[in-house]
C-alpha cells in the first residue's frame, strides 16, 4: 500500500511539473463533461418533473376528433363513460389558448378542475367568481401583477375582459403553470367560446390502472370519433420528446466531443521524447514495468477524475442552480411565454456511472497504452543517451 501511495505522490508531483499543459487538459475535459452532463441532467430532470406533475392527472383524457382536428366534446358523453365499470368519475375540462398582444405571449386558459389539486398556490386561492383568476408566475411577472392586481385578457369574441388576480401558482417546476391563467369552469367555457354543453376534453379517472387500456377501447367503441389518450401515452410522448431533444443536442455537441477525443488521443499517443526519456530513467533506476504503468495510470486517473468532478459540479450548478440558461433555448417547448426552469435536482446514479465510464476509462486507457511500449523497452537505450 505504501508503495502505491508513494507512486501516487510521485504522479501528483509529476503533474505539477507541467501545470499549464495539465490544467489546459482539465479545462477542456471538464467543459466537455459539463456540456454532456448538463444536457443529460436537464432532460432527465424535466422528464422526472413531468412524471411527478402527471401523477395527479386523470388516467384517461378523452378528446373528440373531426376531420383530424381536435374539437369540443359533448359533456353528456361523460355520463355514458361514467357508467362503464371501473370508471370512478368523468370531469369535463375547459382549456384553450389566448394571445396577449400587450405582452406578445400565448397564454393557456383553464377552468378550475380536479387536476388543480396537484398544483400548489404560492399565494391567495383558486377563483370562485367569474371575475377572478389565478395566474402562473410567468403571467404574473409579465403583467407585473400579484394577488389583488388585475389583468386584461382577450376572449374568443375578441373582447378584452378584466380579471382580478386572487392567487398565484407554484409547482415542482414552472413547466405546467408558468403561462397559465385559471378561471372558474363556467367562465373559462365562456371566455374560450365553448358552446353550452361542450368541453375541451374529458378527464376520466379509473379505479384500476391495469384496466385503463380496456376502458379506452370501450370509449373508442362507444364514441368512434373520440380519441382516448392514456396518461402513460402522454408521459411516453413527453419522454420521447426530451430524449429526442437531448439526442439532437448531443449530436450537435458531438463535434466538440470528437475534437476532445482527438486531443486526448493525440496527447496520449504522442509520447514526447522527454516523456520517453523519463520512463527510461525510471526503468534504469529500478522501476518495474508495472510501476511505470501504474504511474501513468494514476496520472490519467487524477486528470480525468478531476475533470469529471469539476465538469459534473459545473453541470449541476448550471442546471440546478442557474436553471440551465445555456441549454433552455434548445430544450424548452414552443410556448412564447417560456417557463423559467428550476429543474429539481435529480441525478440518476446510472447516468453518473455512464458519464464517468465513457470519459475516465477511454482517457486513462489512452494515457497508459502508449506508455506501454516505452515501459517495456530495455532501459539500456537510455544509458546510451
Amino acid at each position: 500500500m505504501r508503495r502505491h501511495l508513494k507512486i501516487l505522490d510521485f504522479a501528483l508531483a509529476s503533474l505539477q511539473r507541467r501545470p499549464f499543459k495539465n490544467w489546459a487538459i482539465v479545462a477542456v475535459y471538464a467543459f466537455t463533461v459539463a456540456v454532456v452532463a448538463s444536457v443529460l441532467f436537464l432532460t432527465q430532470s424535466i422528464r422526472q418533473e413531468a412524471a411527478q406533475l402527471f401523477v395527479g392527472a386523470p388516467e384517461l383524457t378523452v378528446q373528440r376528433m373531426v376531420g383530424g382536428r381536435h374539437v369540443p366534446i359533448g359533456i353528456d358523453a361523460g355520463d355514458t363513460i361514467a357508467s362503464f365499470p371501473g370508471v370512478i368519475d368523468v370531469e369535463p375540462r375547459f382549456w384553450g389558448y389566448t394571445y396577449d398582444a400587450v405582452t406578445e405571449s400565448t397564454i393557456t386558459v383553464m377552468g378550475v378542475g380536479p387536476g388543480m389539486a396537484t398544483i400548489e398556490l404560492v399565494e391567495g386561492r383558486l377563483p370562485t367568481h367569474s371575475t377572478e383568476c389565478a395566474v402562473g408566475a410567468g403571467v404574473a411577472a409579465m403583467w407585473g401583477s400579484a394577488v389583488g392586481g388585475e389583468i386584461i385578457l382577450v376572449d374568443a369574441a375578441t373582447t378584452g375582459v378584466l380579471y382580478e388576480v386572487v392567487g398565484t401558482f407554484t409547482s415542482p417546476s414552472d413547466i405546467l403553470t408558468n403561462d397559465l391563467v385559471v378561471m372558474t369552469s363556467d367562465e373559462a367555457a365562456l371566455f374560450l367560446g365553448l358552446p353550452v354543453g361542450l368541453a375541451t376534453d374529458l378527464g376520466v379517472r379509473v379505479a384500476n390502472a391495469g384496466e385503463v387500456d380496456t376502458i379506452a377501447a370501450k370509449i373508442k367503441r362507444a364514441f368512434p370519433d373520440s380519441r382516448p389518450i392514456t396518461r402513460a401515452e402522454v408521459l411516453r410522448t413527453y419522454d420521447a420528446v426530451f430524449h429526442w431533444r437531448s439526442g439532437m443536442m448531443l449530436a450537435v455537441f458531438s463535434g466538440g466531443l470528437i475534437a476532445f477525443v482527438i486531443l486526448a488521443w493525440d496527447k496520449a499517443t504522442g509520447l514526447s521524447a522527454e516523456e520517453r526519456r523519463e520512463i527510461g530513467i525510471l526503468k534504469a533506476v529500478g522501476w518495474d514495468i508495472s510501476d511505470v504503468l501504474e504511474l501513468k495510470m494514476l496520472e490519467g486517473v487524477v486528470i480525468s477524475l478531476t475533470s469529471l468532478i469539476v465538469g459534473l459540479i459545473a453541470a449541476m450548478i448550471h442546471v440546478f442552480v442557474l436553471g440551465a440558461p445555456l441549454l433552455t433555448p434548445m430544450l424548452r417547448g414552443w410556448s412564447v411565454l417560456f417557463p423559467k426552469l428550476h429543474p429539481t435536482p435529480h441525478v440518476d446514479p446510472y447516468m453518473l456511472f455512464a458519464i464517468g465510464f465513457l470519459t475516465v476509462v477511454p482517457y486513462v486507457a489512452a494515457t497508459v497504452a502508449p506508455s506501454w511500449k516505452a515501459a517495456t523497452t530495455d532501459p539500456d537505450a537510455v544509458v546510451r543517451g
Binding site: R2, K6, R18, R277, D288, I289, D378, V382, V383
Partner: protein
C-alpha cells in the same frame, strides 16, 4: 586463485549481444565475453567508442539480457530472469551513474535522488533519512530543494552519484562518467569513487579516459575491442 576469484560477485560466461537480430542493420555488440567481477574491486572496462563496453555494462547491470550466454550476480542467474525479477535485482544490487547523468531537470535534487526508492515501499522516514545521508555525503544539503536543471554541472554530477548510492548498492556501475567533465570535476568524481570503494562498494567503470584508467583506485583493467576482451591488465 584467490577466494574472491573463486566466488565472484559477478560471473559472465560466453555472453553475446546482438541488436536488431536478423535485420539488415544487425549489430553484434558482444561476440562472446567471459569475465568475473570480484567483491570490493574497481574494474575498468576500457576501449574505444563502439567497442561493446556499454553493452557489457548494461548486461552486467541487469538493464538488458544477453542474446546468449549467462550472467550470475551473486548466486542468481540473472540472464534468464523475468522482467520483474530482473528489475528487483537491478534495484537492490546496482547503482548507476550515466554518461549523460539522466537527471529529471524539473524535479528537485531531493526528488531525483529519491527516484529509486519510490517503488520500494520503504517507509517515508527511512527514505528521507537515506536521502539526507547521501546528500550530505555529496555536499548537496543546501541544494536539496533546487531543481536539478538549475544547479551547476558539478552539483548535477554529485546528484547523479547520490541517486546511484541511495539504494546502498553492492555494485556501482559508471558509464563514461568523466566524458563531459573538466579535470577538476573528474578528479572530484574519482575521489568520491575511491571513498566509496574504501567503504567496500564494488565499482565497474566503462571509460576511454586515461585519467580514470591510470587512477590509483583502479584494481583491474579489461580492454574491450570489437565485442571481445582482448587484454587484461593490472594497473
Amino acid at each position: 586463485m584467490t577466494a574472491a576469484a573463486e566466488n565472484p560477485l559477478v560471473l559472465v560466461e560466453d555472453v553475446t549481444k546482438i541488436y536488431h537480430r536478423g535485420a539488415p542493420d544487425e549489430v553484434r555488440a558482444i561476440r562472446g565475453i567471459s569475465m568475473t567481477v570480484s567483491r570490493g574491486e574497481v574494474l575498468v572496462l576500457e576501449g574505444p567508442s563502439g567497442s561493446g563496453k556499454t553493452s557489457l555494462l548494461t548486461i552486467i547491470g541487469c538493464m538488458s539480457r544477453p542474446t546468449s550466454g549467462q550472467v550470475l550476480v551473486g548466486d542468481r542467474r540473472v540472464s534468464r530472469l523475468s522482467e520483474t525479477a530482473l528489475t528487483s535485482v537491478r534495484r537492490s544490487t546496482f547503482g548507476f551513474i550515466f554518461q549523460q547523468l539522466h537527471l529529471i531537470p524539473d524535479l528537485s535534487v531531493k526528488d531525483n535522488v529519491m527516484l529509486p526508492l519510490y517503488p520500494t515501499g520503504m517507509p517515508v522516514a527511512e527514505m528521507d533519512e537515506r536521502v539526507d545521508r547521501v546528500l550530505s555525503a555529496m555536499r548537496l544539503e543546501h541544494r536539496r530543494t533546487a531543481r536539478a536543471g538549475r544547479i551547476s554541472g558539478g552539483e548535477q554530477q554529485r546528484t547523479a552519484i547520490a541517486r546511484a548510492l541511495v539504494t546502498e548498492p553492492t555494485i556501482v556501475i559508471a558509464d563514461e562518467p568523466t566524458a563531459h567533465l573538466d579535470s577538476e570535476l573528474s578528479a572530484e568524481l574519482l575521489k568520491i569513487l575511491a571513498e566509496l570503494n574504501g567503504a567496500g562498494t564494488t565499482i565497474i567503470i566503462a571509460t576511454h579516459d586515461p585519467r580514470v584508467m591510470e587512477h590509483t583506485v583502479v584494481s583491474r583493467r579489461l580492454v574491450v575491442r570489437d565485442g571481445l576482451i582482448v587484454e587484461e591488465a593490472q594497473p
